[in-house]
């Protein structure tokens, strides 16, 4: 892949002077000066940045383009002509390579504008006797957009763009620049530079949890730290939920709520009883208050997949359900926004933050509060692991679905504990065990989803009937779908035994024991 070479110039240098220097010293032809605006985009959780990509929409009076670069330095970026700002979702871009790649990278996450930069650019070309351009050189000034054209100057630079098949010409021009103009190429992180001074930093948000802990740290201090991070995650996602940017803001918010509830439930002896009870109730409220919106989000996200489960001639008949879901989702979203801007949630946050940041008690009443977090972590994780084994071993093909759901919940709690305390264990081993657990969770989760979806079809058809929006064709399609989901559920259920056997096999049991058993040797831990 041909690479653009960037030569930073001192910010105080005059561009007209550089223009003259280039024309005096190099056999170049100068084009007319050009101006355009670069708008940078990424998802809220920086999926493009994390994948080493940079997405820019180049707004130009002539041809505007959306370009996806590899680390911002490749010549052969994926590009599509786009005369309007990019749509919120990659699926709505013009079909093609860029659309497919973005769709893969972003999934259901929205593209959000980060910042924009005004570029003054002059192209110089090395031309052969046929009049063919062999190398392009750009003299550029980049300025933060806004402030009436007086935004901060981010960079002045020369950029050399080699052309495929004319590598030798590029090489010669590079030598000229480096030897005669005494410039050195240097990679530039334009996005980070443009974002400096704002509240955003590339990669500053992730839905994952990774909290540095000291093994000897007091358990109550460590847990407060974890819960404070979760509170911040909730707060960070509020605006995106209210503005309805994409579905993952609410998802991440709810995960933070569930994690907080799991932390409170699993660490009963770390917190004072009254504090525990009060906040557990409030977080339970938050969980159930946000539930209906999320459920409807999931049905809408998976609608096409659900539709595809039906025979082709019935698929169209399901469309009224989509409208029903969308309508109810809008109503639920309004309720959710009201609650998120309401007094109860505001009070919960204030009191929770006050508690989490208050001074640690010298003589706490909670029995485990002063214990080293590592001891509490081993103990709780080991107990939850034993519970998962016990519940799983008790499940037979005849067991009722409730027992499978109980196991699913226990697995989730185990997973959260392992993730909270990840940093207390060797990274490779804990990641490997999380992966093993995840395989079991995937099966349990799929079973639960199918059961809920199958029942929900019946509930939706009652609702639609009540609203006078259920035709016999749609009712038939929904009934067929409900039956199909039931069939799938049986298939997933029949896979459970093998999945659980794999999870609970001796080698895995030993690995869990080595890491979490309270009596395990310190040599297994960092």
């Amino acid at each position: 892949m041909a690479t653009l070479l960037t030569y930073p110039l001192p910010k105080q240098d005059s561009l007209p002077r550089w223009r003259q220097t280039l024309l005096d010293r190099l056999p170049l032809h100068a084009d007319a000066a050009d101006r355009y605006r670069l708008h940078f985009y990424d998802s809220f959780d920086w999926r493009l940045f994390m994948a080493g990509k940079l997405l820019e929409w180049r707004e130009h009076n002539g041809v505007s383009e959306l370009c996806l670069h590899d680390s911002g330095n490749d010549v052969t970026a994926l590009t599509t002509r786009l005369d309007r700002p990019p749509p919120r979702f990659a699926a709505d871009l013009p079909a093609g390579r860029l659309q497919r790649q973005l769709d893969k990278l972003l999934g259901v996450r929205a593209l959000l504008p980060l910042t924009c930069v005004d570029v003054r650019s002059q192209c110089f070309r090395l031309i052969d006797e046929e009049g063919k351009t062999r190398v392009r050189l750009f003299l550029e000034q980049l300025r933060l957009a806004g402030s009436g054209g007086h935004g901060r100057i981010l960079a002045k630079r020369l950029r050399l763009a080699p052309l495929h098949g004319y590598g030798n010409d590029a090489k010669r021009l590079t030598q000229h620049i480096e030897q005669n103009l005494a410039l050195l190429p240097q990679a530039q992180n334009l996005l980070a530079e443009a974002l400096s001074g704002t509240s955003k930093t590339p990669g500053d948000y992730s839905s994952g949890i990774d909290i540095p802990l000291q093994p000897e740290q007091r358990a109550d201090a460590a847990m407060r730290r974890i819960l404070l991070v979760l509170l911040q995650t909730m707060e960070t996602n509020e605006a995106g939920i209210i503005d309805d940017l994409d579905t993952e803001f609410l998802h991440d918010f709810r995960v933070a709520v569930r994690r907080s509830r799991a932390a409170l439930g699993q660490m009963k002896k770390v917190f004072p009883v009254r504090t525990l009870q009060r906040f557990r109730d409030e977080f339970a409220w938050l969980g159930s208050m946000t539930g209906p919106s999320r459920d409807l989000d999931v049905y809408l996200l998976e609608f096409s997949a659900l539709q595809a489960l039906l025979p082709a001639d019935l698929r169209g008949d399901l469309e009224p359900l989509r409208d029903h879901l969308a309508r109810h989702r809008q109503q639920e979203h309004a309720v959710l926004c009201r609650e998120l801007q309401g007094a109860r949630y505001r009070k919960l946050k204030q009191q929770w933050r006050r508690y989490l940041t208050s001074k640690l008690p010298q003589r706490p009443a909670a029995a485990d509060a002063r214990k080293p977090i590592a001891d509490v972590a081993h103990h709780r994780t080991w107990r939850m692991y034993r519970r998962v084994l016990k519940e799983g071993n008790a499940i037979t093909p005849e067991s009722p679905a409730e027992e499978v759901h109980e196991l699913r919940k226990s697995c989730k709690k185990l997973r959260y504990l392992m993730e909270f305390f990840k940093r207390l264990y060797p990274a490779r081993e804990i990641s490997a065990l999380i992966k093993i657990l995840k395989k079991l969770q995937d099966n349990l989760g799929e079973f639960q989803d199918l059961q809920v979806q199958s029942q929900a079809m019946k509930q939706f058809s009652v609702e639609m009937d009540r609203e006078g929006r259920l035709s016999p064709q749609t009712a038939l399609a929904m009934e067929t779908l409900s039956d199909t989901l039931q069939d799938h559920m049986q298939r997933v259920r029949s896979e459970f035994a093998n999945r659980f056997e794999a999870f609970g096999k001796k080698a895995n049991r030993q690995r869990f024991e080595r890491l979490f058993h309270p009596d395990a040797g310190a040599e297994n831990r960092p």
Partner: protein, 251 residues
């Protein structure tokens, strides 16, 4: 990658102008596009100002002694590259004859390009030869510029018959009227009541226009110097009409 061959048994019908102008329009939309100038006369290479020279000639290319990537040249248009012509292409039939599956050589050769480009335009020499058969087997779409005259139509029928005889069912053959002069009675009659040929003619027609002839002097695509002309507009309409045939899932 969709392979679009601009082809006609007859010469001087506007094949190169079609390949050059349509490829520029594709590239303008951001599609990585490649033109392969297969005509030893090298008109497309001339328009793009690239020397009609391939190191080692057609032999080394088709014997895969030289990778295609080594001979690709960027044009002055973003996203548009060219494999230039070479005078040795005049002997391409002889080169191809040496291979066991001589009609499928071109198809095999362009396979590695599929991940790099959305479109490959083949600008073909006139005539019907082993090279033509290679083109017909490598292409997904055969764009046939046809002058609305009796002789031109005769060659189109020959081509359709040839493809039918050989069982080239994969190929979508899309003829369209080119170099149309509406002052001529015959041209008008044919355009208004086009003969039934294959799946029918595309509705876009390219006028006979001095702007197109100027491409030889300007050495660039119409978009660059005569954007508002009738001819440039006609190529844009042809490109728009072609797009549904370039289904995204297969690009």
């Amino acid at each position: 990658m969709k392979v679009i061959a601009c082809y006609n048994i007859k010469g001087g019908v506007g094949k190169t102008a079609t390949a050059v102008n349509l490829s520029c329009l594709a590239a303008r939309e951001g599609h990585p596009t490649l033109v392969w100038d297969l005509d030893p006369q090298g008109a497309a290479s001339f328009y793009f100002r690239v020397k009609p020279k391939v190191k080692g000639g057609s032999g080394s290319l088709f014997r895969r002694k030289r990778e295609l990537d080594d001979v690709i040249k960027a044009t002055d248009y973003d996203h548009l590259d060219l494999i230039p012509a070479d005078f040795s292409y005049r002997n391409l039939d002889l080169t191809l004859e040496q291979f066991s599956k001589s009609t499928k050589r071109l198809r095999k050769l362009i396979k590695p390009l599929r991940s790099d480009y959305d479109y490959l335009f083949l600008d073909c020499a006139p005539g019907i030869s082993l090279v033509s058969e290679n083109v017909l087997l490598a292409a997904d779409i055969l764009l046939v510029p046809t002058i609305p005259t009796t002789l031109s139509l005769r060659t189109l029928y020959q081509l359709l018959q040839f493809c039918e005889d050989r069982g080239y069912t994969h190929l979508e053959i899309l003829p369209f009227f080119s170099m149309v002069d509406r002052r001529k009675n015959l041209h008008r009659l044919m355009i208004d009541d086009p003969p039934k040929a294959g799946r029918g003619f595309l509705s876009s027609t390219i006028p006979y226009a001095s702007e197109v002839e100027l491409m030889g002097t300007k050495r660039t695509a119409l978009e660059s110097y005569a954007h508002s002309s009738r001819a440039a507009e006609a190529y844009r309409a042809l490109w728009e009409e072609l797009k549904p045939h370039l289904a995204p899932s297969q690009v």
